[in-house]
């Protein structure tokens, strides 16, 4: 396996999870009579049941449920209501009594009630999460999660041929108390196949991709959405601010590869650009704003792909990142071994994660202090005395302080892990 290819290191294999998302979305759309959706879709009740039983994060399940119910307001029936209750019950924390599902059901009806058809808007999730937070105990990432997902957000973008196209804007964001660098693994496109079931591969075509530190290179991005594989050459610039206050990646279609493939294997999209970032933003509801935007335009008329990229793939990427790449959210699946063995395994995993994180923090910290330390020594040993060594000392101190902050976050993660182990792995 090529070291520059991330797919071979993918520890999670969840094509079934992704399909359960896509099937539920398509099932609701078919029932709502959306054009372009095949009639051979499962009934939403069956799809919801499979979604509820999947190992997906509860925010993904609940958001897809909300979106579906908004789309089929006139067609909603008893079977859908029963499946809805099932999903809400399956996503309840272990220590919350199942009888509270009725209460959540009423909250849900308040949010999705009405006559006409609608689509999930950030305000819908905001209203539901705010009312249901007492039952579900949502954390700040879940409460603040916001994803624009409709036809109203569009912008003119140029294709590599210079043609202006009205492109769909897909965006998702949430706030977190973790420092920006805690999300570096997610922001780095090299890791996207490890973060999301939609990403099959990020293969380096030119340049060099790195696990950390700035780089610019061209990837072949291989994404699977609704059983369709999209292969897009992307030029990516990955950057980390020296003080750790922002980490981001910008991606654009690589014009040379786009042109070269025109005759033999045309690129299926002509606009695919955006930014993935985590940034310290004082004054917000939490420390760090994690944000992803993507402008997309398909070459052909396959309207389903951008819709699914919006409704499922992109928010999934965000949430899966927080759960898996940043190790902030514990796994949601119930432990299937004996309680004691399961608890031991969870404690071991939490300790292992903690040790890995702290070791990584110190390794990175030593690397980041190197240029300041080199300058400091240079000023001391230079021909004349240079009092700017104070700056270097302060820079070293700042790196150290940032590291202590990150280590403190890891300690909190360990504490959460131990607490969740006692609850059978549930947050």
């Amino acid at each position: 396996m090529n070291d520059q290819t991330a797919s071979g290191r993918r520890p999670y294999d969840w094509p079934e999870q992704r399909r359960s998302m896509e099937r539920t979305i398509l099932a609701f759309r078919a029932l709502a009579g959306d054009e372009g959706v095949g009639r051979d879709q499962p009934h939403p009740a069956d799809a919801l049941q499979a979604l509820a039983d999947s190992g997906l994060h509860r925010v993904i399940k609940q958001r897809i449920l909300l979106d579906g119910l908004l789309r089929v307001r006139p067609e909603r029936d008893q079977t859908i209501d029963e499946a809805t209750r099932y999903l809400l019950r399956r996503t309840l924390p272990a220590d919350v009594d199942a009888s509270r599902v009725d209460e959540v059901m009423r909250l849900l009806d308040d949010v999705v009630g009405g006559d006409g058809r609608d689509r999930l808007q950030p305000s819908h999730w905001e209203a539901f999460a705010d009312r249901a937070k007492e039952v579900y105990g949502y954390d700040i990432e879940e409460l603040s999660f916001s994803s624009g997902c409709n036809d109203r957000q569009q912008a003119i973008k140029l294709t590599p041929d210079g043609q202006p196209k009205l492109s769909r804007l897909i965006e998702a964001q949430f706030w977190s108390n973790e420092p920006p660098m805690a999300f570096a693994r997610y922001v780095n496109p090299l890791n996207w196949p490890r973060c999301s079931s939609a990403w099959q591969e990020m293969k380096v075509l030119s340049g060099t991709a790195r696990e950390s530190g700035d780089y610019t290179c061209v990837f072949l991005e291989v994404v699977e959405i609704n059983d369709r594989e999209l292969r897009v050459p992307l030029e990516v610039g990955y950057r980390e601010r020296a003080d750790g206050s922002r980490v981001w990646a910008r991606f654009n279609i690589d014009h040379d590869h786009y042109e070269a493939r025109k005759r033999t294997d045309p690129v299926p999209v002509d606009v695919d650009t955006g930014t993935v970032s985590a940034e310290l933003r004082p004054g917000g509801p939490a420390r760090t704003l994690v944000r992803a935007t993507k402008y997309l335009h398909m070459v052909d008329d396959d309207g389903m792909v951008p819709e699914l990229a919006c409704d499922a793939g992109w928010p999934d990427l965000m949430i899966a990142m927080a759960e898996r790449c940043a190790t902030r959210w514990p796994p949601e699946e119930p432990v299937t071994v004996t309680p004691e063995a399961g608890r031991t395994a969870l404690v071991d995993a939490a300790i292992r994660r903690f040790v890995d994180e702290v070791a990584a923090e110190y390794q990175q910290g030593i690397g980041q202090t190197r240029p300041h330390f080199r300058r400091l020594i240079g000023r001391f040993t230079g021909a004349s005395w240079d009092p700017r060594w104070i700056n270097d000392l302060l820079d070293i101190g700042k790196v150290t302080a940032d590291r202590y902050g990150a280590v403190a976050s890891s300690v909190r993660g360990l504490a959460d892990g131990l607490r969740n182990a006692d609850r059978g792995g549930r947050p």
């Binding site: 912008a155 003119i156 973008k157 140029l158 294709t159 590599p160 210079g162 202006p164 492109s167 804007l169 610019t216 610039g237 950057r239 981001w248 910008r250 991606f251 654009n252 279609i253 606009v271 695919d272 650009t273 955006g274 930014t275 970032s277 933003r281 004082p282 004054g283 917000g284 704003l289 944000r291 935007t293 402008y295 005395w385 240079d386 009092p387 700017r388 104070i390 700056n391 302060l394």
Partner: protein, 139 residues
């Protein structure tokens, strides 16, 4: 340097040292000022980095003043963006003597723009800075 040598040093012998140290203090205070300017940026939607951002500026005769963008540089690829591509739309009053202005980039007038988040300033006709913006432009 021995103690005796130190005693013989006059203040002006150390002028360069103190001058540099003073410069250092200025640098430090400038850094603190930058930190303070960044504080509260979460509440400024103009800095989030959308393809359209909104800015509150002081109105001239109750209307949007003549505005221009300058120093727009991409944060990733460090390319400059032609400021004349930035459009300003009056979105109406935003409080006493304030007007809400929507800024965007008219990409259809460009032949090619490197996709990036472009950081820059909005100035009035006298060149006074009205605010900072971060615009998503290009592809």
């Amino acid at each position: 340097m021995s103690n005796e040598e130190l005693i013989r040093l006059r203040p002006r012998d150390l002028a360069a040292v103190w001058g540099t140290a003073f410069g250092q203090m200025v640098d430090l205070s400038r850094a603190w000022l930058n930190v303070l300017m960044e504080a509260g940026s979460a509440e400024d939607p103009a800095l989030v980095g959308d393809h359209r951002v909104e800015l509150r500026v002081r109105a001239t005769d109750g209307r949007m003043p003549r505005l221009a963008a300058r120093n727009l540089v991409g944060e990733t690829f460090r390319r400059s963006l032609d400021p004349s591509l930035v459009t300003f739309t009056d979105r109406g009053p935003a409080g006493p003597d304030l007007v809400l202005v929507e800024c965007g980039v008219d990409e259809s007038r460009a032949s090619s723009i490197k996709g990036d988040l472009y950081h820059g300033e909005v100035v009035d006709e006298r060149g006074a800075v009205m605010g900072r913006i971060v615009l998503d432009a290009g592809s």
